[in-house]
């Protein structure tokens, strides 16, 4: 039962009430707004003890540095995390949604949640919105099936990888990874590899910078190294 006099109760989830207005504003010649973008370098790799994910710390809105101390490593649970690139709001909200989903799954099953649960939630959500939710992620984690690293594109495609780079600085970072990645690296080698890959992004991409965060996931837990390094020339 609804009419113009008695509008239906608003549904939960996204509201599309402003869409037509905003489309008509763009048609009238107003420029669409600038969203805060992570403008990121994210790099990740599998080493012999688990997963390592690294990111830079800059968020940008156009050419403005919107945030010099951004957290781009999003923790889902004790054994799963993702590094996010793309629109900052989308990555933040994706973390909230997937963390809640995974925690409910853990409470229902009473077991550690496998990485594929988080990955499936992410890819299905992204596919439903057909690439309009703009996040490019590297999902990593450790579970009873082993060590897993997946990259996810905004349209919802994903694949399992040994190492990967994402974001605007990914070209510099992936070339470093392609050249220097070896299988069965130890933790110190892996830290150096990811640190150097992020640094390549920081030096060569204007939208990346302001420091390096690392996240190391092993069967014994997760270690989040905030400000692992703040390169002196790039503070």
């Amino acid at each position: 039962m609804s009419s113009a006099l008695l509008p239906p109760f608003p549904e939960p989830g996204f509201s599309f009430e402003n869409v037509e207005r905003n489309v008509s504003l763009v048609k009238k010649g107003f420029k669409p707004p600038k969203f805060t973008s992570t403008g990121t370098t994210v790099a990740a790799a599998i080493f012999d003890g688990g997963i390592i994910i690294g990111t830079d710390k800059r968020a940008s809105a156009g050419t403005i540095v919107a945030n010099k101390n951004t957290n781009k490593i999003h923790k889902i649970s004790n054994n799963i995390a993702f590094g996010g690139a793309g629109t900052a709001a989308d990555c933040d909200q994706m973390e909230k949604m997937v963390r809640a989903h995974v925690e409910l799954h853990r409470l229902n099953s009473g077991k550690q949640v496998p990485v594929c649960v988080a990955l499936t939630k992410i890819t299905q959500h992204l596919f439903r919105y057909q690439g309009h939710i703009q996040c490019a992620l590297i999902v990593g984690g450790v579970d009873k099936f082993g060590y897993h690293l997946h990259h996810v594109y905004p349209h919802g495609s994903s694949s399992e990888v040994l190492f990967e780079a994402m974001g605007s600085g990914s070209l510099a970072a992936i070339s470093h990874l392609e050249l220097n990645y070896k299988q069965n690296m130890n933790l110190d080698e892996a830290k150096l590899l990811i640190r150097n890959a992020i640094l390549a992004g920081v030096e060569n991409d204007l939208a990346s910078g302001n420091g390096i965060d690392l996240c190391i996931i092993t069967p014994s837990g997760m270690e989040h190294l905030v400000d692992y390094e703040i390169p002196v020339a790039f503070v």
């Binding site: 996204f14 919107a66 629109t87 709001a89 933040d92 909200q93 939710i133």
Partner: protein
């Protein structure tokens, strides 16, 4: 021209030692025409908690009314006052609900805990991506770029209320004077543990 800068306007919040300055300009424009000279962008949630909504004025009013509704419902349901962190999440979620078809506003949340004197500063973009004001100030609006510059230059940590008023006002007015879309004076709230003062600053009116 972006629709976000249609009405002009700028906001800023700065933290001192157990005190807080929340500042906005007074201009309301329609493109290059000034149509209002007494338009506040600061909305009081309670005497220790303020939200600033720079950007398109029509959206700012809508978002404030919707936010006020949610704050009232929260406070009735929980029988306690809303905290700055919760208000920030609430505004962020409200803006992200409109991820497709967004409101053309930014958001600044500034709060002071009257028990501890701790200050809380948050800024967000029009989709609700939160920036925590760890540097001691947050900015928003039409002359955000200029405000970043003046705040970085003039801000010092642990200022008292009198000095904070001086520093915040200087930073804000210098930035506004370099922006045609903001200015016509400023409102400054100086919030301390046991007093809130609203100052009205005079500035260039051209």
């Amino acid at each position: 021209m972006s629709i976000e800068s249609y009405n002009g306007g700028a906001v800023m919040a700065m933290a001192g030692k157990e005190c807080l300055a929340v500042v906005c300009d007074k201009r309301l424009g329609a493109r290059l025409t000034t149509i209002g000279m007494n338009h506040s962008k600061i909305y009081e949630i309670n005497p220790y908690l303020y939200v600033c909504l720079p950007g398109l004025a029509t959206d700012a009013l809508t978002v404030y009314q919707r936010l006020r509704f949610r704050v009232n419902m929260y406070e009735l349901k929980e029988s306690r006052k809303i905290s700055p962190q919760v208000l920030c999440s609430m505004l962020s979620n409200l803006l992200y609900e409109h991820r497709f078809g967004n409101y053309f506003i930014g958001g600044v949340v500034a709060g002071l805990d009257p028990a501890t004197g701790k200050t809380y500063l948050y800024a967000m973009d029009c989709l609700g991506a939160i920036t925590i004001g760890t540097e001691g100030f947050v900015t928003g609006g039409h002359c955000e770029e200029q405000l970043y510059g003046t705040c970085e230059a003039l801000y010092r940590p642990d200022l008292g209320p009198e000095e904070l008023l001086e520093v915040a006002s200087q930073a804000f007015l210098s930035a506004c004077d370099r922006d045609a879309g903001s200015g016509w004076g400023a409102f400054v709230y100086i919030v301390t543990k046991n007093k809130v003062e609203l100052k009205s600053l005079k500035a260039r009116m051209d």
